[in-house]
Symmetry: C3
Subunit: 266 residues, 3 copies
């Protein structure tokens, strides 16, 4: 049984409808907005340097995802992250495929310097990002969560942030406390950009519970875990899974998270 | 009972498959295209200054939405709107979040100068836009349709266009005639970009019925109202609602609109 | 009954999870990624000149779609196609609406010079593209597959590539061998970007079976044909069709293709 107040975190999202400013990739925009609306948050997507900092200051949290980067978008990301840092607005960094190209590595280093509150990635991305901060290059190899555990803890300590690593199971650490989550469903990797949507959902939860970002992060992951299990029980493939997941996120109650059995000290 | 020939307008869309040129935000593109196809129109999305005016001239109507603006896109929007204006092609303006940033306010003023045929927005956006045209700045506050009624009428008269304001109920005015619509479902705000898709659907209807743009606009809103009610009766959350809405838009018949009971003089 | 080993091609996709680098239009990105995941491939979407060639070299195939072009994207497309050509990575070209504007015609000529392995389009696009390579201008007219048959064969011979033309039925040629496919469902044109997703799916199949690109192309089309028929039997409109199509693509087995009856010499 969980020993963190996860239900309270979901209740806070549902009650306060936090505004989440997302600068994310083109593939993820629609599904991310729909996941945020389903859990009870208010999404806003905009990226231009002409307005991005002005808008970030209005938001409860910022979520940056580098899936389809380009120079003008990268500049928008940095201005938004700076505005978040300067105004004590929590922000989540999703380093999509950071190990794949030099361009992503450079951009990720610039964003890491702007102090994200949470980093959410898969095992390969966390290893690449950790290597990046002391070796200068990432790795591409597909890694397991257990293989990346030490890298996640190192990264959390070095950055002074929370690292949330998702995959066959999930691992969350602030460098000191570590949590392991099970849940979800085998169809989740067959639906595009669920990880991206989860990163933005983490932002919604830390917007609603900024004083306890570790609990907020775990609650966001648990929400996807519970909703994913329920959706998987109804689905006959990735199309019906995606539909059922949005319905399940919408139907989720605080008590669903308080009775979540997939959390243990990790 | 309705006193406008709404069924005829839907029939005209279904019979003529109007080509609707959309320059919209990244979040809305896919869902907008699917809504247009469902009601029987033909969507086309393109934005580059290198081709945008050439294409607008081929279209039955143009729909411009400023949800995720940037300078190159803004230039494409303006060239498209100019091409529409010069060729008597009706166009719809959706001023997403115009009150939120200075950049959106400036862009909106430039687009208003190009004489949109219809402005479709929520109450806050209509108030912001109306304020913009005489005060220079918008407002952010969440407003109700009733609070924004006078602003909508003022804007319609000042611009010589139709204003369609949607929310807990809808209000449509050409400055002289006013209509109020009820319908839809409480899940609609939980699905992203339905308002954006509705703006493009208004464009499809005015492309099919350019001689009666007020009737066309009301018919588009009534289509979403009826389809939304039917989808809501089938849905268990926002995922299944979105699926059911596309099915319901596709199944809509002219007689569904002729028997629509949610319209009254407003 | 089919006389091509289509089931083997699907099995190869499912077994090897080919990485498909997609540079596609904004409308199609999400649905394309979901179709690729459903058939068993691994999608990646990125476009910036800063990283595009580096990434293409990691991919099993490249898919380029010009639906929403702009100069910076066009440069990314050309650099990716060059990287593909230089590294013997097969690539698929989807010339969306090439007949509609001069800008698309010029861009398409530049991309044709980089030797696509497969061109996938509708009849009007194939006619426009064929005219383009000797007359300098495309045509807009809606054409039937039978009207475009000669253009497709001409284009295949001139380019030394495969041409896959889809519509009321499909026609595939390498200039010498011709195949005709039936299947699918009348709701398919009511769902946006299925043709774009099919182009990327062709790329997945040629990545898995580069030694037999004609078989791979036919197998991709047959997969959509079979899945489309099954989805159509379950759907009540385009919303439920899209969901059912992803489920059906996911459930597809090699024996489904080996018993496909919609293929004949064309």
């Amino acid at each position: 049984m969980t020993s963190l107040p996860l239900g309270e975190a979901l209740f806070a999202v549902q009650r306060t409808t936090p505004l989440v400013h997302c600068i994310t990739n083109f593939v993820a925009m629609n599904s991310t907005a729909n996941c945020l609306l389903a859990v009870g948050a208010s999404p806003a997507m905009l990226h231009a340097v002409e307005e991005v900092a002005e808008f970030t200051r209005l938001a409860g949290a910022l979520s940056i995802n580098i899936g389809t980067p380009s120079p003008t978008w990268a500049e928008g990301m940095q201005q938004a992250a700076k505005a978040a840092q300067e105004n004590n607005i929590p922000w989540v960094f999703d380093p999509v495929a950071v190990g794949a190209t030099c361009y992503r590595q450079t951009l990720s280093q610039q964003l890491l310097a702007l102090a994200p509150s949470v980093i959410r990635g898969n095992a390969s991305e966390i290893i690449a990002l950790t290597g990046l901060t002391h070796q200068g290059r990432g790795v591409d190899a597909t890694a397991s969560i257990d293989e990346a555990r030490d890298a996640a803890i190192t990264l959390a300590n070095r950055q002074g942030c929370i690292v949330a690593m998702t995959g066959e199971h999930d691992f969350v650490t602030d460098g000191t406390q570590h949590w392991r989550l099970t849940g979800g469903h085998s169809l989740m990797p067959r639906v595009t950009t669920l990880g991206c949507a989860l990163s933005a959902t983490v932002a919604a939860f830390i917007a609603a519970r900024p004083e306890t970002p570790l609990v907020a992060t775990v609650a966001a992951l648990a929400s996807f875990g519970v909703a994913g299990e329920r959706a998987g029980a109804l689905a006959t493939g990735p199309g019906s899974f995606q539909v059922a997941l949005l319905d399940a996120l919408y139907q989720l109650t605080p008590s669903d998270l308080d009775t979540f059995t997939g959390l243990e000290k990790g």
